[in-house]
Symmetry: C2
Subunit: 100 residues, 2 copies
DNA sequence: TTTATATTTCGCAAAATTACGAAATAATTT
DNA sequence: AAATTATTTCGTAATTTTGCGAAATATAAA
């Protein structure tokens, strides 16, 4: 029926990143982390967001899974930071689309 | 429990756009339309993508719903074009995030 | 070693997404 | 009016996402 049975690498990668961005909680977190290239704690985030700890944890897990953030254990906290390498990759792939 | 019970307009808008981009088919379509600011037909797209007509139609509907494309009836075809106003809005909101 | 703190994992439910084929719609041609 | 063409809508099913509370984990403090 159809000729094309798969997508280009670029399209797939962009869809992966877009999916990671497709929830207000995850946008909020990434915006916060990228804004001053800082890190943050799950405990701080849960006070700023209308979701419970376990739900926040799932969103953090998703961002970790696509590689956009990484968690450093800093007992008794876990400090989450932007993975700048992956973040640059995201920025490049989006810039390509956005700048025609 | 939580202090914050809602998200900023920017965060919500970006999540909405990111969701629209969160599928290879929709990225493919938007890339195609934005690349030369052109239009395209459902019938052309279905030959380039590994999905059936009815599924493509659903993806087009979603893009229409968020306002990123618009369909002009041009019997017996429907010509889909980028909604440049909405596309600029998307670009602006993403640029803000991507350029720190 | 018990207690307290910070966070995650598990199990579950509700809702949304993705995909398809069949039927419907709408305009054109025969 | 019947047949054709391009596309959408409907009904359905499988999968994924989102959210929660309870239990588990891991470390530090008492």
């Amino acid at each position: 029926m159809n000729n094309r049975t798969n997508y280009s690498e670029d399209v797939l990668l962009m869809a992966k990143y877009a999916k990671a961005l497709a929830h207000p909680v995850r946008i909020y977190i990434l915006k916060k982390l990228s804004k001053m290239n800082s890190c943050c704690y799950s405990g701080d985030l849960v006070d700023e967001l209308p979701i419970k700890r376990s739900t926040l944890s799932q969103h953090l897990k998703e961002l970790k899974y696509v590689g956009l953030i990484q968690g450093e254990i800093e007992p008794p906290f876990i400090k989450y930071c932007l993975n700048t390498y992956e973040w640059e990759k995201l920025k490049n792939i989006f810039s390509e689309l956005l700048n025609d």
